[in-house]
Amino acid sequence: MTKEIIKIEDLKREFTMGTETVHALRGISFTIKEGEFVTIMGSSGSGKSTMLNILGCLDQPTSGIYEIDGVSVKDLNRNELATIRNEKIGFIFQSYNLLARTSAIENVELPLLYNSKVNSEARRERAIKALEMVGLGDRLHHTPSQLSGGQQQRVAIARSLVNNPVMILADEATGNLDTRTSYEIMSLFQELNKQGITITFVTHEPDIATFSSRTIVLKDGDIMQDYKNDNVQSAAEELAKLPKQDD
């Protein structure tokens, strides 16, 4: 049996807005196993962002169980959550969130700066390796302003890979990209997934879900659908089908 990376049981998250209580998540249960490529879908207000914050250990559930890589997140303090984020999760954001005027390699090194177990030589080595994995081995010293949107997102992916996380957590990672570039990014995700990396992808675009192996659809804080995708499409093939770009 493959290892369970994420285990969620009857997870609830409530927000108090004045006198009213908003139920953002109303008792959700699911597990994600190692090597899965899961998309979490839902329209705005479905609890998708709340789910993402909890999965990313940026937020704590009101009740229920959330375990990541065997560690129960409940009752962890701010600093312990930071360590979990540092060692177990790789974040990818819609707007890349790279540090401006800072080279690609330094951006990728960032998570390792907060990990005292990694010394500066290992840090550099791992950053170079991660950038090579996303195909930017020749752009180590470019700053974000010298890179295209797709390249910037690749830097961000390299950054998420550098700490060898148990799961990559992507938030609308293709939302700011055109169709061609987003297919390129998706094919990169599929490649990484083939190498055994677990990926959780939060999105509201249905066609992104066709590239993943499993889809969880949220609505009003509940799971509406949770299905295996038997017919996973290859982003690389879709990319080939697109009309040739005028150069």
């Binding site: 914050n53 990313g56 940026l58 937020d59 701010r78 600093n79 930071a82 360590t83 984020r85 540092n86 060692e87 974040f91 954001f93 969130n97 540090l99 005027r101 800072t102 960032l110 998570p111 700066l113 907060y114 990990n115 005292s116 010394n119 950054r159 700490n163």
Partner: protein, 406 residues
């Protein structure tokens, strides 16, 4: 290791914002530079006062007769005749902290040499006078104790007297002059000392044995002053006490009676004059400190802006695993680096300004090591103090809100 990384991050942020950092530092730079320059000017003037007074003999003790009441009439101190030769002998015998001492009688009169004459003052002293006043001889020699004993009519004269009664450039030593019609043989010329701090010409003097002056010129047997020098400057206050006690005993004063004499040390004079310039220094430093404070507020302001501007960056750092303490340290180190670099530049500018003031304005200056240490410490404290709140604010940010911040 981890702290080193945070340090690197902070340095990088400073390097990326060179102009802004430099402008932020400016307040600190000007503050520190002015504190150092002001203190240097203050110390310089204090030192110059001390040097002039020291030239008069910094461990000198002066005893004068005090004022008294005679038949209900208050008398001026100078007419008192209470200080006597036996007082001097008692002090000389009993005091343990004096290296030299001399009785002093003084009078005014006309110095005459042939057809030239000049009004001057005559001081009757013993041979130790030169050591107390720190005066050397230009030519000739000092009279001896034997000459004092016999009340010889010998005298030493200052340069001003020489210039006025020997206008032809004659060698004065060996010549005869008259002081109030009493003939004196000139046996030496005093080294030129110029004017003292109070504008008195120190070269306009005639020095003779006190016995001669007492008997032949003033016809008195009391003394005007006793001057002495303490073994060291530090002992001067103790000498004042010791001499007072000896004199009280000599004058058989009951405990209830006030001193009928005054004992003064130069130290008192120095502190009187220093306190004026010290007051000035305090005012200058106060003004300079205000600019340092404003510099600190400048840092705080820019750190707040920086935290606000980099909210998203802070969110990202937290998302990838930075703890609150890491963020706190990052901004704190940044603030401290700004203030300390500003401090270093300020010290350099202050030293430069001091050199400039000394060279081009000819004001005496003296850079005190403590002023550098203090302003440097103040800088570091300023950085911590004014950097703390913005840094605290940054570290307390919620990563989710910070990440969504636009």
């Amino acid at each position: 290791m981890r702290l080193l990384n945070v340090f690197k991050i902070a340095t990088k942020a400073i390097v990326l914002n060179k102009t802004r950092t430099l402008l932020t530092m400016l307040g600190i730079i000007i503050g520190v530079a002015s504190v150092i320059a002001m203190l240097a000017i203050g110390e310089g003037s204090k030192e110059s006062i001390r040097t002039t007074i020291s030239a008069m003999g910094s461990n000198m003790i002066t005893v004068k007769a005090g004022s008294d009441t005679r038949g209900g009439v208050r008398q001026e101190a100078s007419v008192m005749e209470s200080l006597t030769l036996s007082d001097f002998q008692a002090i000389k015998k009993q005091s343990t902290l004096l290296s030299y001492s001399t009785p002093v009688v003084e009078g005014k009169g006309q110095v005459i040499n042939g057809s030239n004459n000049w009004p001057s003052s005559i001081y009757g002293v013993n041979p130790e006078y030169l050591s107390i006043k720190v005066v050397d001889l230009q030519s000739g020699s000092m009279f001896t104790d034997a000459e004092v004993q016999t009340a010889s009519k010998v005298a030493l004269i200052g340069q001003t007297v020489v210039d006025n009664v020997f206008p032809d450039g004659q060698e004065p030593v060996g010549q005869m002059i008259r002081f109030n019609n009493i003939p004196f043989k000139v046996i030496g010329v005093l080294e030129e000392k110029g004017e003292n701090t109070f504008g008195q010409d120190q070269d306009d003097v005639v020095i003779a044995p006190y016995t001669t002056v007492q008997k032949r010129i003033l016809a008195i047997d009391h003394l005007n002053q006793i001057i002495a020098s303490a073994v060291s400057e530090e002992e001067a206050p103790n000498v004042v006490i010791e001499v007072s006690n000896i004199l009280r005993e000599q004058h058989k004063l009951a405990d209830s009676e006030e001193d009928d004499f005054h004992v003064r040390s130069m130290e008192e004079l120095i502190s009187t004059f220093s306190s004026t310039s010290e007051m000035l220094t305090i005012l200058l430093v106060a003004v300079a400190s205000i600019s340092l404070l404003i510099g600190g507020i400048g840092i705080m302001n820019i750190m707040y802006v920086s935290v606000k501007e980099r909210t998203k960056e802070i969110g990202l750092r937290m998302a990838v695993g930075a703890k609150g303490a890491d963020i706190l340290m990052q901004f704190l180190i940044e603030a401290i680096l700004i203030s300390i670099t500003g401090g270093v530049l300020g010290v350099l500018l202050g030293l430069g300004a001091t050199v400039f003031i000394e060279k081009f304005l000819n004001w005496p200056t003296s850079v005190a090591m403590y002023s550098i240490v203090i302003s440097f410490a103040v800088c570091a404290v300023t950085g911590i103090f004014f950097g703390w709140y913005p840094a605290r604010k940054a570290s307390a940010l919620d990563p989710i809100t910070a990440l969504r911040y636009e």
